[in-house]
């Protein structure tokens, strides 16, 4: 259970890192520290605190938190390697470690090359993947996964709709990151209308990506409604599905509201950052629901063999 608690701690630290990253872009501080991996020539860990001012506070703070999450991930990977009997879980720990290292490199490259949209978007996209990895590790190490109280739900329709929803959310986040890093957040300045109408009167790359993000929001909202509706209608008694489904519905409502306020407030820093963070939480919640819908496919035998050392297997728990 300590491994599970630690994995949840790493997930929470990653949320903090996403907050810090969102603040960097929301405040336009991405290039406040021009060099990397040094900070104004200092080793990043010896950079004087008195110089943490203005945009440096956000950018250097992001680097420090990222380093902290990197070290937490090293420990997580090592712990999984030592304690996990499931080979794929050990691999998952190493993949998470590789992802956080690659993420650090992307962050450095995007600074050195003046925030090219493609690299910055990849940095944002990989952040979500890393967050999802930590959440998945948390789920896979939980008692609810290794020793479930009930047989996992076997619902093909749920698997399909939940998987599609998670994929839509991730695509929507990528479109949003592209919009964010191409400075297209206010390319369409009004909401819910678009230049006072339904469609843009002219098309530029920035207007197109902004428009795509709005269409994506509609698709994701409908997908989440379908998933949550399916769970509530077909599996109301299964709390492990109902809770994430209802949370997902609340999160998407909050996210659409925040998106509207991003426009109305002309990209207020706090609202803009909250929009990024709630997007990540929406993705993670949908992932949890999706993985639980697939839990039955891991197989009872695999579940029985999957117990973390020192914890009950699924069979033992059921006995």
């Amino acid at each position: 259970m300590w491994l599970h608690r630690y994995a949840k701690f790493v997930s929470a630290a990653t949320v903090l890192l996403i907050v810090a990253g969102g603040l960097v872009t929301s405040t336009g501080s991405g290039l406040a520290v021009p060099d990397w991996p040094t900070s104004y020539g200092w080793n990043m860990f010896t950079f004087p605190m008195k110089h943490m001012v203005g945009g440096i506070f956000y950018e250097h703070g992001h680097r420090l938190i990222a380093s902290g999450v990197g070290f937490l991930t090293i420990i997580l990977a090592a712990w999984l390697w030592k304690a996990e009997s499931r080979r794929w879980m050990r691999m998952l720990g190493l993949i998470a470690l590789g992802a956080v290292c690659l993420q650090g490199l992307l962050g450095g490259i995007t600074v050195l090359y003046f925030l090219p949209t493609a690299i910055s978007t990849a940095h944002a996209g990989l952040a979500q993947i890393f967050f999802c990895l930590t959440v998945a590790i948390s789920l896979f190490t939980s008692r609810g996964w290794t020793a479930p109280a009930h047989d996992p739900v076997d619902d093909r329709a749920l698997r399909t709709v939940a998987t599609a929803t998670t994929a839509f959310i991730y695509l929507q986040i990528i479109v949003g990151a592209t919009m964010r890093h191409s400075d297209a957040g206010l390319a369409i300045p009004d909401f819910p209308l678009i230049f006072g109408g339904i469609l843009p009167p002219e098309w530029t790359p920035q207007i197109a990506v902004h428009f795509a993000h709005r269409v994506g929001a509609l698709v994701v909202t409908l997908a989440i409604a379908a998933t949550a509706g399916h769970v509530v209608y077909h599996h109301p008694e299964r709390s492990e599905l109902r809770r994430p489904a209802l949370t997902l519905a609340c999160l998407v409502l909050a996210q659409v509201t925040l998106g509207a306020f991003v426009i109305w407030s002309e990209k207020n820093v706090a609202i803009n950052t909250a929009h990024v963070v709630v997007g990540a939480l929406t993705l993670a919640t949908s992932l949890v629901l999706t993985l639980r819908s697939h839990q039955v496919r891991f197989g009872r035998t695999a579940l029985a063999a999957a117990g973390v050392r020192g914890t009950l297997t699924a069979s033992e728990a059921r006995a």
């Binding site: 501080s29 290039l31 021009p34 060099d35 020539g41 110089h51 001012v53 990197g70 450095g108 003046f114």
Partner: protein
């Protein structure tokens, strides 16, 4: 074996995030002075074009700058209420307009070796608008007791983002090509209110208007020219002028309007 692999990854990860310099970064040496270039025009026939930039209507109040993000900036501006320099206007004139010969010149013009000094002082850029010739050094100076980054975002020349963490630090930059958009924006990503503009041309015929709107472009070869006048918010205007040998033309006037939504 696996633990060894993890140990290697740990060391590599630490190296990625932690490698780099140690103590205070060294300040760069100031640019060396070179002999002045030969004049590109015959002084006996040189003409002068001057005029005034007029701002139509009442100049808007410039946005106040809140420097709370950096105590050093607050201290440097103690007792003052700094504002942006978007609309600098005295007596109906408009300052900080970059006026330049847009077309009509022939030949090449050697770049001056005297550097343009571009200072960061009291967390502001000085000057706010300036002109520089291709090949002419721009000496960027940090006169503040805080860190600045100098981030230029040209379209034609290479973008650069230079760190100046130490007071008194100097960095020399030289633009290598005429800027397609004429003006290169500068900003400090540490202090979001800091911005400045440099007109980058391949000739020396440019000026920046004073707060009363007056400007003068001297030493111009006789001929017909298109003058451009650029303002950071009110856009660009052009004007045709013809000057004879030794003529001092004084009516090259422009009238700008306050940009919609300015400030």
């Amino acid at each position: 074996m696996h633990l060894r692999l993890l140990a290697v990854l740990l060391v590599l990860s630490f190296g990625v995030v932690a490698c780099g310099g140690g103590s205070e970064p060294p300040a760069q040496a100031p640019a060396t002075q070179e002999p002045a270039a030969a004049p590109a025009v015959d002084p006996a026939t040189a003409a002068t074009v001057s005029g005034k930039i007029t701002l139509e209507g009442t100049p808007p109040a410039n946005a106040p700058i809140r420097m709370n993000a950096d105590p050093a900036c607050v201290a440097a501006n103690k007792g003052q209420n700094p504002t942006q320099e978007t609309y600098v206007s005295e007596g109906g004139g408009l300052g900080n307009v970059f006026v330049y010969v847009q077309s009509g010149l022939n030949g090449t013009f050697p770049a001056p070796t005297t550097p343009i000094v571009f200072d960061q002082q009291a967390c502001r850029y000085h000057p706010h608008v300036f002109g520089v010739q291709v090949g002419q050094p721009v000496e960027i100076l940090n006169s503040d007791s805080t860190l600045h980054n100098i981030h230029a975002t040209p379209k034609t020349n290479a973008e650069f983002n230079t760190a100046q963490p130490i007071k008194g630090m100097k960095t020399t930059h030289t633009f290598t090509a005429k800027e397609a958009d004429v003006v290169v924006p500068f900003k400090c990503d540490v202090h979001g209110w800091m911005n400045a503009y440099a007109g980058v041309l391949d000739h020396p015929y440019f000026a920046v208007s004073k707060p009363d709107g007056s400007f003068s472009i001297p030493n111009l070869p006789p001929g017909s020219y298109t003058l451009g006048a650029w303002h950071e918010k009110s856009g660009t205007q052009t004007l045709q002028v013809t000057v004879a040998a030794k003529e001092s033309k004084t009516d090259a006037n422009f009238t700008f309007k306050v940009a919609a939504g300015a400030n």
